[in-house]
């Protein structure tokens, strides 16, 4: 168990021309579950491989409990890794697979037996110990490769590199739950790389959202959804993602496509901005609001997804399933002001000013 600290870590694969991972400093607290979320090529796997020692970073240092391990080879770091697909020694039984890391470290035989028994019980693998892992279902294979990491007592963190990629859809959920239970049972720090927001948001205490080699926002599932600090958080999290409108702020008023959206909370702002509002916070209103054409309505079971038009701008709205609405009509909608963000240079700078009571709806 340990705290892992990244100090100004950056990495370039081509000798400094482009950086796959731009400078990042952060501390991974002991026992927490983290997710690195982002699209392919955003640097999340690079960051993971730097931590496990597969890649040596171009810049910066990594410390585990204050000890610099930047130059230490993988086998001397107390880090375990689970890969995209089950990586197992096919010719060994499950038991031999679990014993392998300990045998290589010259752990005494009785200690090995005790650890393997303990881990097998924890993972529910007692009945499969003597068969070859190749005969197991893919999710159990992933559990075995996880076991190879857990079996070492000194392990500081377990890194997962999209571990559910090859798992059958039916077992993804159970495996994820199992990982979560294990996390609670062992208290080991987990770092989980994925491009699937559901996986990240349901699994981790803290999600690091990454884009183009940078961490754009760190926070809980709620933070990323309700308080996006970066346009990318709005765009990448949620389904469908945030609506964005080009807007102009003048005299504390936000105007987009010639339509007045309302006052801005931070009165020091002016000039061009982007307005972002999630489809969940585009709501029909009785009085006031903005008249918009309803272009299309889809019933998605449990909710309706409406495509609206504000001038020539497309706006998605997630509406209650029992709301009577149909394509072709014109209707007034409002943006929930506290959940409507103004972005400048992709960063959130303000929300809209909450209307005084009574003015809304």
């Amino acid at each position: 168990m340990a705290t892992i600290e990244l100090q100004n870590i950056a990495h370039s694969y081509d000798g400094g021309e482009t950086f796959a991972l731009k400078e990042i400093s952060m501390t991974w607290e002991d026992g927490k579950a983290y997710a690195l979320l982002g699209p392919s090529g955003c640097g999340k796997t690079t960051l993971l491989n730097i931590m496990s020692g597969i890649i040596k970073p171009s810049h910066g240092r990594i410390l585990i409990d204050g000890v610099d391990i930047t130059d230490k080879p993988t086998e001397e770091r107390n880090i375990a890794q689970v890969f995209q697909f089950p990586v197992l020694y096919d010719t060994m039984s499950v038991r031999k697979n679990l014993e392998f890391p300990l045998k290589n470290r010259k752990v005494p035989a009785d200690k090995i037996q005790q650890r393997v028994a303990h881990i097998a019980e924890l993972l529910g693998l007692e009945d499969q110990l003597d068969i070859r892992p190749g005969k197991l279902r893919s999710d159990l294979q992933q559990i075995v490769s996880l076991g190879r990491g857990l079996v070492r007592e000194d392990v500081a963190a377990i890194l997962f590199d999209e571990p559910l990629t090859v798992i059958d859809q039916n077992f993804k959920w159970t495996l994820r739950n199992r990982l979560k239970r294990l996390h609670l049972a062992t208290g080991v720090t987990l770092v989980y790389v994925t491009h699937d927001q559901t996986e990240a948001l349901t699994f981790a205490d803290d999600v690091l959202l990454m884009k183009d080699g940078e961490v754009v926002q760190v926070g809980s599932a709620n933070d990323l959804f309700l308080e996006p600090s970066h346009e990318f958080s709005g765009y990448f999290i949620g389904s469908p993602g945030m609506n964005f409108l080009d807007a102009e702020v003048s005299n504390h008023e936000v105007v987009a496509h010639g339509v007045h959206l309302g006052p801005v909370a931070d009165t020091s702002l002016s000039g061009p901005h982007r307005v972002g509002v999630r489809p969940e916070f585009v709501v029909p209103v009785e009085k006031g609001g903005i008249d918009m054409d309803v272009v299309k309505v889809e019933n998605r079971g449990g909710f309706q997804l409406a495509q609206l038009a504000l001038a020539d701008q497309k706006i998605m709205a997630k509406l209650d399933a029992d709301l009577e609405i149909s394509a072709g009509e014109r209707r007034a909608f409002g943006f929930v002001p506290e959940r409507t963000f103004l972005f400048h240079d992709e960063r959130a700078v303000s929300t809209m000013k909450p209307m005084s009571a009574g003015a809304a709806r």
Binding site: V87, Y89, I131
Partner: protein
């Protein structure tokens, strides 16, 4: 609704292949089979002799000796080429221009025709001007024309030089196909280089090694042009392998019946050996393998239970 009539006419699509195979393999083979059971005295005068030629062939001491030579030769070259090929593949660079250069250099012997290889090695082994012959002569008299051991040694070396690259290339391709994650996992597990080879690379190379083994066995068992040009089977009969003997019977003695019977036996031997290799090496992957493995596990579990039972019973009686 699907009202189309179902029939087996799709089989006609296989017809072209059947025709090609018939002309390239089945008909020639049956012609040989035809010759093997009759003595052709003249085009109009044939006598059916049954299995007489087969009896003659299998009891001919010269052929039995040649068969033994073939077995020894194949065993020796496999024992050298497979490990050596793996070693070379492991030493070859993984990527970049060096990898391309290494591939080309390693592949050079493979593109040289058999009889050119034979000629090259014949010169190479000459005790007066050949590099190998002269070098060996520094230590002791070396003459592949007179010393059987020298001739045999040179024949083995020639095959190793010519065909180890094939094994190396196959293994190299096999090694490149192993995902990096296996190496990364092994290094996280603290595995030594030997362990990585033993538990990661070797299991993953099983299939390519099987192909290499089969190809090299079949090819070396049929070897003809190289030893024929190198030594002509001599000195004496020291390097007389089956194919050389077969050529003598078929072309020089023009004993078609015996040659045909010999060919069929030769063909069968290679088929049988290849089948045995293949069966043994793929035992784990064939249908039923899982069931066999499960049965084994269950049997072991039962044994353990019985042992536990016995232990607890004996425990009770002790009290």
């Amino acid at each position: 609704m699907n009202t189309k009539k179902k029939n087996n006419r799709a089989w006609f699509l296989v017809l072209p292949v059947v025709l090609v195979v018939a002309f390239t393999a089945i008909i020639p083979l049956m012609t040989v089979a035809n010759y093997s059971v009759q003595d052709v005295l003249s085009p109009d005068n044939r006598v059916f002799v049954g299995l007489e030629f087969f009896r003659q062939i299998t009891t001919d001491p010269a052929i039995v000796a040649a068969f033994q030579r073939n077995i020894i030769f194949s065993t020796q070259i496999l024992a050298i080429e497979i490990p050596l090929g793996i070693m070379i593949a492991k030493l070859m660079p993984r990527r970049g221009w060096k990898a391309a250069a290494a591939l080309v250099i390693v592949a050079i012997p493979l593109v040289i025709p058999w009889n050119v290889v034979g000629t090259t090695w014949r010169v190479f082994a000459r005790p007066d001007v050949g590099l190998l012959g002269v070098t060996m002569n520094q230590f002791r008299p070396f003459d592949i024309g007179n010393t059987p051991a020298d001739a045999w040694f040179t024949m083995v070396m020639m095959d190793v030089w010519h065909w180890t690259p094939l094994v190396a290339l196959l293994v190299y391709a096999g090694l490149r196909a192993i995902p990096d994650a296996y190496y990364q996992a092994a290094s996280i597990d603290g595995a030594s280089a030997v362990s990585v080879f033993r538990f990661v690379e070797l299991p993953k190379l099983r299939r390519v090694l099987m192909i290499a083994l089969l190809l090299r066995f079949m090819d070396s068992f049929m070897i003809y042009a190289e030893p024929y040009i190198l030594t002509g089977g001599g000195p004496g009969t020291a390097t007389e392998v089956m194919s050389i003997l077969l050529a003598v019977i078929a072309v020089i003695q023009f004993d078609l019946g015996q040659a045909a019977a010999f060919s069929l036996i030769y063909f069968l031997i290679i088929q049988i050996f290849s089948f045995i290799f293949f069966t043994v090496l793929t035992l784990d992957e064939r249908p039923g393998a899982t069931k066999r493995a499960e049965k084994k596990v269950k049997a072991e579990a039962r044994k353990r239970e019985m042992a536990d039972d016995a232990a607890s019973r004996s425990g009770v009686t002790n009290e």
